[in-house]
């Protein structure tokens, strides 16, 4: 009898979980894998979403001029007026994939989304080589780009998301 009661509770509980994690309002349309792929432009640190293609620093140097990056970042990327791309910010980023992702989604400014995957691989290779992070001959593609070791990666501290819950005091609490 006790056992039965317990069983009822267990069934009731699992029904709640199923409700909490299942479609209940029947609104919204399930997206196909193909739809997800065309909609999604973000590339994460593992580079799982990277498209086929490849590029080298030498190719990137040409693309940098051909695609007008020089217009804002200067002839060699170090002159501005837009952020300096050598010896500056991007060398400190944690993942090379983030540089690929940003150029792909946001550059060249005012013509965002106009670059081909090969161009983005080449530009990333050019900038990483200029920042002495990869060798001139290195080819970047779906498999090699996520493996690039960024010098600053070790300084990024994994955020304590597992421990974070509403009402948790900030990690930046300043004791007066």
């Amino acid at each position: 009898m006790q056992y039965l009661k317990l069983l009822v509770v267990v069934i009731a509980l699992s029904a709640v979980t199923a409700w909490a994690q299942g479609p209940s309002y029947k609104l919204g349309k399930t997206a196909t894998a193909e739809e997800v792929k065309t909609w999604d432009t973000s590339v994460g640190p593992e580079g799982k979403e990277l498209p086929a293609g490849k590029g080298t620093a030498a190719e990137g140097e040409k693309v940098f001029t051909a695609r007008g990056c020089t217009w804002c970042h200067g002839p060699t990327g170090e002159e501005g007026p837009a952020p300096h791309l050598v010896g500056g910010g991007i060398a400190g980023w944690a993942f090379a994939t983030s540089i690929w992702d940003y150029i792909n989604r946001a550059m060249p400014l005012n013509h965002e989304g106009s670059l081909t995957p090969n161009e983005v691989y080449s530009l990333t290779a050019y900038l990483l080589n200029r920042n002495k992070i990869i060798q001139p001959g290195d080819v970047l593609d779906q498999t090699t780009l996520p493996k690039v070791q960024m010098p600053n990666r070790g300084r990024y501290i994994a955020p304590p998301v597992d421990k974070w819950k509403p009402g948790t005091p900030r990690p930046f609490k300043i004791e007066p």
Partner: protein
Amino acid sequence: METKKASRRRFLRQAALVGIAAGAAPALKAQMEMMPMSGSSTGGSAAASSPGAAAPPGNPTDRLAYGVRSRHEKTIRAIAGDSVNPEHMHFGRMLNVLTPLQDIVGSITPTPLHFVSAHGYTPPDIDPKAHRLMVQGMVDRPLVFTLDELKQLPSTSRIIYLECQANRPEYKQETLELTFGKTGCSQWTGVLLSVLLKEAGVRADAKWIVGEGSENGRMTKSTPLSKAMDDVLVAYGMNGEAVRPENGYPLRLVVPGFEAIHSVKWLRQIKVTDRPYMGFQETGRYSPRTPKGIEFTFAQGPKSVITYPSGGQKLMRHGFHEIRGLAWSGGGRVSKAEVSLDGGKTWKEAQLQGPALPVAHTRFTLPWQWNGEDVVLMSRCTDELGEVQPTLAQFAKFWGATSAEFLAGTASGAGHSNAIQPWGVRKDGTVFNAIT
């Protein structure tokens, strides 16, 4: 954003256009014609007969169809310094504008006066019928929602402030709006993100969500799933009407208490992941350098500022003045606001106005007699987690620098600043920024 002249020109242009289209609202028009209008009526209403009470410009039908403030009210958003600085990366692009906090008399920021930081991107002109939000990634069923479907789901309204990480007292500026204008408080209405995530079925090993916008640069920002499941909103409403284009129309994420960069505008995608995506806005920008390394900032700390008297204003007489200010915290409710009349030596508890809502601008007041002496006024906020707003010196020390370095702009990489703002009052009544 735009000059007074330009906005007046635009207003006149719109008024003229609507004058032609007024026939489209016959019922309202008929009603209008029966109403005695000030200035044009012979009736005895006090307003109509008081001197100078001519009809305001523009078509009256239009003014009633969608309200327009009195032509005597001139408060506008100021242009942020970074937008007009040739050295700044956003120079020459869409202007950033600031909330004129010194002129706002409540705790809600009127939508047309809410600050805008769009990172140089022009708000996309999104057709709400064509807009879609995709929820995908580590979920059982990737889903696509129309705006109409999102509006049919259970709705939630919350009064929440949003503040930019770059709202920093140590960027010493003369006026309140230039120093503190990147914050605003609105009632946001939408569907809780947790509702959408449960509909899609989040996988057990998921830990983050990545929001993505529809502007040309398609900004992304990662937020912990624990937060997303708690109180994050997918908002279509702002102060009772549709979110405005520059604030994220038709959909914006609202992440209460976190730096406003998390509240992705023009939201097109939520991707559920097992790690932060380390996009531009979390690795190239907004990644504070703590003494330990490079960290993520979650909730913002307790903060407050005196809005009257504040930098650039002038006390016109000796005697009674009500000190007024705003306090808020990403950590929850404001539990206490204090005011110092002696540069931080002693503190008096101010009166909190209205219910102190969690993660919302909360007004405070303190009656004060000013007899013409030099004085430095400050305010300090304590939140329900017991965190107290620090001085600039304490804030600077935490981030491994000095106040002087912060004020000179040579210290960088600090997280959101919630340092105490001092306003100095001179004998002649002028108020200045006294931060040191």
